[in-house]
């Protein structure tokens, strides 16, 4: 064979001689994969539609509020950053209904396909523990859902700061104390909405029924809890604490120093600490059940 004819070389198998990141690398890879799943990245186009649509819907009212504030303060010279059309608590209230749907889609997407398609056996053969897997999946939900809750708040925070009479930077520093409140409230929304989604997804076999069961549990638990607590006195008032979607609203009000009267829990006479306890309790139970469930699967 002459050089002009070319040649095909079989390079064979090349061993890996570079670094190995071990357990840390495995956890980070699982977290990144979780984020891709939630957002539909590197998946078929139909997997991308809902998450990005919901992100858009969550951002839309905030952009409208900031735009309206800009219009009234600069064109009409009326409302300013001290008197916005909506504050951070209002944005949480606006976002949570969309966030409920987002969590309903994200939780099952993170856990069910791995289990149903047998991918768990791949994780089991890699340098990671069950707690690493579940923790990385929860971390992915936390990053995506955190972004979902925090991003509209940041848009509002930065947007209103830009309207501050003393300049943008003064606007940022003047309301800096809102940032930890936003993060803390987002954490409680994440736990309150995310833990039940995970708990259902650990047992559901298909995505569709998991979405339905989750939405039913979140919506109906609140409806029943409020109805029972208002219809019965004495021991019946404890049912108010089962209003899963109202508990984080109560905690958010508490964090922002609001005194909004919420159905059920407020009227049943419970302090916000009870709601904190219920949210953390469900999250801890979800974690323990998850570890036991996944150990039994391998």
């Amino acid at each position: 064979m002459t050089a002009e004819q070319g040649a095909v070389f079989d390079l064979g198998y090349q061993p890996h001689e570079g670094p190995r990141l071990g357990r840390r690398g495995a956890i980070l890879a699982t977290l990144r994969d979780g984020l891709r799943r939630i957002l539909g990245l590197r998946r078929k186009a139909r997997k991308k539609i809902m998450p990005w649509l919901l992100f858009g819907i969550a951002l839309l009212p905030v952009i409208a509020i900031v735009g309206l504030s800009f219009f009234t303060s600069t064109v009409l010279g009326e409302a300013g950053p001290e008197n916005p059309f909506a504050g951070h608590p209002n944005i949480f209230t606006l976002t949570t209904s969309v966030f409920l749907i987002f969590t309903a889609l994200a939780g099952p997407e993170l856990l069910i396909p791995d289990r149903v398609e047998g991918v768990l056996s791949v994780y089991a053969s890699r340098p990671m523990r069950i707690s690493d897997y579940l923790g990385a999946r929860a971390g992915a939900l936390a990053v995506a859902a955190g972004g979902f809750l925090v991003l509209p708040q940041l848009v509002l925070y930065i947007g209103l700061a830009s309207l501050h009479p003393d300049g943008w930077f003064s606007g940022l520093t003047a309301n800096l104390s809102d940032i930890p409140k936003i993060l803390l409230a987002s954490l409680f929304y994440l736990l309150a909405y995310g833990a039940p989604a995970f708990l259902i997804s650990m047992f559901a076999k298909r995505l569709g029924p998991a979405w339905g069961v989750y939405l039913a549990v979140m919506i109906l638990s609140t409806a029943f809890a409020v109805a029972i607590s208002e219809a019965t006195a004495g021991i019946g008032r404890w049912a108010a604490l089962a209003a899963l979607s109202i508990n984080p609203d109560i905690v958010m009000d508490w964090i922002f120093g609001q005194t909004t009267v919420r159905e059920g829990i407020s009227s049943a006479g419970f302090s916000p600490m009870w709601s904190v306890g219920v949210i953390l309790g469900i999250a801890i139970v979800t974690w323990i059940v998850g570890l036991r469930r996944y150990r039994s699967l391998l």
Partner: protein, 305 residues
Amino acid sequence: MTAAAAGGLISTSRLGHAYGEIVALHHLDFEVPDGRIGLVGANGAGKSTLIKVLLGILSPTDGNATVLGHDVQRDPIGLRARVGYMPEESCLPLSQTAADFTVYAAELAGIPTKAARQRASDVLTLVGLHEERFRYLGEFSTGMKQRAMLAQAIVHDPELVFLDEPTAGLDPEGRAEMLELIARLGDFGINVLVSSHVLTDIESTCDWVVMLDGGRVLRTGPLSGITGSDTVDVELFGTHDVVIEHLQSRGATVEVRGKVLRISSEEDSFDMIRDVLAETGVGMRRLSQSARTLEDVFLAEGNVE
């Protein structure tokens, strides 16, 4: 390959595992060297359970085991960084492409992303999926899925790979190609433990065998030692009787199998046959060492259904 020098690729001592009341593995004691190991046994013999115990996925309920020098109970994370696993059931996410999943499988084993991409491309080429690497796994045929499963098992360059029934569900052509791939792994310096109930698959790929039966080790050793035999088959022209008489008078055991005499003796059977044929003047058509397949051994010694 260094595991053998360090005291065996896999070593078990009174290893047992039970699912509640059901005992799947009974006090397994064996040691295997580097190379291609066949784990054979009937369905339900405990092969998959043994693999899961050796991977540290299931905890032994009795005894202990070391793989590549790692105690499976004390250091499962360290062990799993050095091994690969292809399960019997499908383990592929159907909504991902072969390339994306193979990269992810490498990252899960701690390979940095850039290297993982390169390795995934190389390994998918190696298993014959280069052209199909950007197709979704849900669109793959059974044979392609098996290849993708093999790719995820070796993409991180493991020192040992566990293959649980790698030819299950494949047509004859796909099976032959998979066996060829498995045989090549040994050439790349990857030790292989192949579990199968298809004994011919093991005979064609492995050089060491562990035979399980009802959760117990039936035989373990080099394939040649297990299938080899100390008996000799001879086929003669004419009558057997006089030859049999002479052989028996010299202390040989003779079994008549149609036209073939199967002879075993404490002395060298070949020399004895030569001498007897010279004395009797009987002609010989064929003379050979008796060949046994793994199936023969299993049927003779095991409790196969």
